[in-house]
Amino acid sequence: MITESFIITCIRRLREYGEGIVFADQCLSSLREVVKSNVYTTLCLSQSGYKDIKEVIRIMGLNPEQAEIILRMKTGEGIIRKAGGRFSYPQLIRIPFVRPKNLSNREIDKLNEKNEVIQHLLKRVKPRETAIEQIESGLKVKKPQAKTNEKDSTSNVKKDLKKLLEALAKNSFEVSTKIMKLAGFSGRKNGSISGSKSVRIKKIAIERGYIKEHKISLGVRGGMRKYMEITDTGYSLLDELCVDYERPRGKGSFEHRLYEHIVANFYAHKGYRVRIEACEYVE
């Protein structure tokens, strides 16, 4: 389906209502055919591009002698042609120079301040009401609400953060994806939320300093694994939310404690009694 530009439709319609339009551009060749065919008077000033000159010759119907002149036209000279009417042949014209008078912004400021028409028009301008203006005018300020307002509200974010931190506090040395699953953030089953949200919650938790993310290679297939660690700020949030938790045992960096946990877990599976930093390991 070929659709016409809305602006061209406007131009077509405007003629009947006494609105003249003066189009100006650098080259005739870049304008659409429909514009050229809707124009009665074409004035071509000096052109330099081969394509443009060719287009001018075509549109204005110039003979070789007239075409030769396009190349030699000086500033202020042009070829004008009307599409029909009294005299539809191209004419070489010289446009007199209009000497402009410089006018600075400050001068315009002064002139416009005194200009009654502008001041009258500006009185009709009604500024957009902000909350303060609404209060002043005695209106009840309504907070614009989203179509579904439950998703990103503060309480919801806090709930999700609680879920995440709870799951992480109970399983400190599990990989991120498993933690997210345990917190109910992955997959769409059983009312859990989408993967994109789990990423967002994790990002919020990292940004707010509740958790830290570690990428550790265990030397097995699957590349780097992502682990999360609750920070002191995260533990204070858990305290604030009245969540029972136990800090993971062990000292040193997260990587060190992770290896401790992996080794302890390995031997605990084999039936050994394992102790980490003098505390008994419970699987």
């Binding site: 530009s5 602006i7 406007c10 131009i11 319609r13 405007l14 003629r15 009947e16 209502y17 006494g18 609105e19 003249g20 339009i21 003066v22 189009f23 100006a24 551009d25 650098q26 080259c27 005739l28 870049s30 304008l31 659409r32 809707n38 009665y40 008077t41 074409t42 004035l43 052109q47 001018v56 003979n63 002698e65 030699r72 500033t75 202020g76 042009g78 004008i80 009307k82 009294r86 005299f87 042949y89 004419q91 070489l92 010289r94 446009i95 120079f97 402009p100 006018l103 315009i108 028409v117 028009l121 500006l122 009709r124 500024p127 957009r128 009401e129 179509k147 579904t148 307002n149 990103d152």
Partner: protein, 295 residues
């Protein structure tokens, strides 16, 4: 300025411009028009090698004029001349300065010229329907212009239509008599994006927001009005809107096209003129909107 009419100079011109034409035939390359044939209301220049002024009738100007020329060829000067001539005849016009300030320098020639600068004297509410035009009709025009200028595809355009409609409805309920602004549209889109919306809608919202947000940023004060400067009253004066400070040509074109669409809708509520010139709109850098998309 007067045309040099001495025979010697005419011959010089002839030699200079028409080397292929035999001497003795004055201005042979162009058919010589009689003064009656180039008569009219608006003088546009002197016919070369004669002192005759080439004029256009007002009814010819209604059928539009196209001026083309490389930079420095005298386009701005021609436009200035046309504007002075229109002013002399009492025909109001609206011009937009896009790349350089030009029209303001005509204040000396026309003291009643209104020079409007965005955010200072020029305020526009793009969602405000013209007098006598229904909001539904204007909503469609607004969406058409916006999608055409910012290259928004049909699905997003229809979505924009829906958003604007819901905005009109909300304002009708909450603030009757008040018109939503572009900033309200921007806020509405941001709120929708925050809400639980289908993935395809998120795509539409992002497409529209990517265009609307910069417009609101660039034209913050200019668009921060419920009622803009009354355009219908501007149509009775010679007006120059200076958009030079707006460096984005897309936003400049959006303002120009929107005002053109506004004038079209407004005029359609009035009587037909059948060839009588009422107002002239200067559409500079026309190829940016009406071009083939090559430049």
């Amino acid at each position: 300025m007067r045309e040099n009419s001495s025979l010697r100079e005419r011959e010089l011109y002839q030699y200079k411009y028409l080397p292929s034409v035999l001497q003795g035939y004055r201005n042979q390359a162009f058919i010589e028009a009689s003064p009656r044939q180039v008569d009219g209301d608006i003088g546009i220049g002197y016919v070369k090698n004669t002192g005759t002024v080439f004029r256009l009738y007002l009814k010819e100007l209604v059928q539009h004029v196209c001026i083309v020329g490389r930079s420095g060829a005298g386009k701005t000067n021609t436009i200035r001349l046309l504007q002075i001539e229109l002013h002399r005849l009492g025909i109001p016009f609206m011009a937009f300065d896009l790349a350089k300030l030009g029209t303001r320098y005509l204040k000396e020639y026309m003291p009643d010229l209104l020079i409007l600068r965005p955010g200072i004297e020029f305020f526009l509410n793009a969602l405000q329907n013209p007098m006598g035009v229904s909001r539904t009709e204007w909503r469609m025009s607004f969406c058409e212009v916006t999608s055409e200028i910012f290259d928004i595809r049909t699905a997003s355009k229809l979505y924009l239509n829906d958003v604007v409609q819901s905005l009109y409805d909300r304002f009708q309920e909450e603030k009757p008599g008040s018109c939503p602004t572009m900033h309200d549209l921007n806020d509405e889109l941001i709120n929708r994006r925050k809400g639980r919306v289908p993935r395809n809608e998120i795509g539409y919202i992002n497409v529209i927001l990517n265009k609307v947000n910069p417009v609101c940023d660039v034209l913050y004060n200019c668009l921060n009005v419920h009622d803009g400067i009354p355009i219908e009253e501007l149509l009775a004066h010679p007006v120059s809107v200076e958009l030079v400070g707006i460096k984005s040509s897309e936003i400049q074109m959006w303002i120009m096209s929107l005002i053109l669409a506004w004038i079209t809708s407004y005029r359609e509520t009035q009587e037909m003129q059948f060839g009588k010139l009422r107002h002239v709109f200067f559409f500079d850098e026309a190829a940016k909107v009406l071009g083939k998309g090559e430049s």
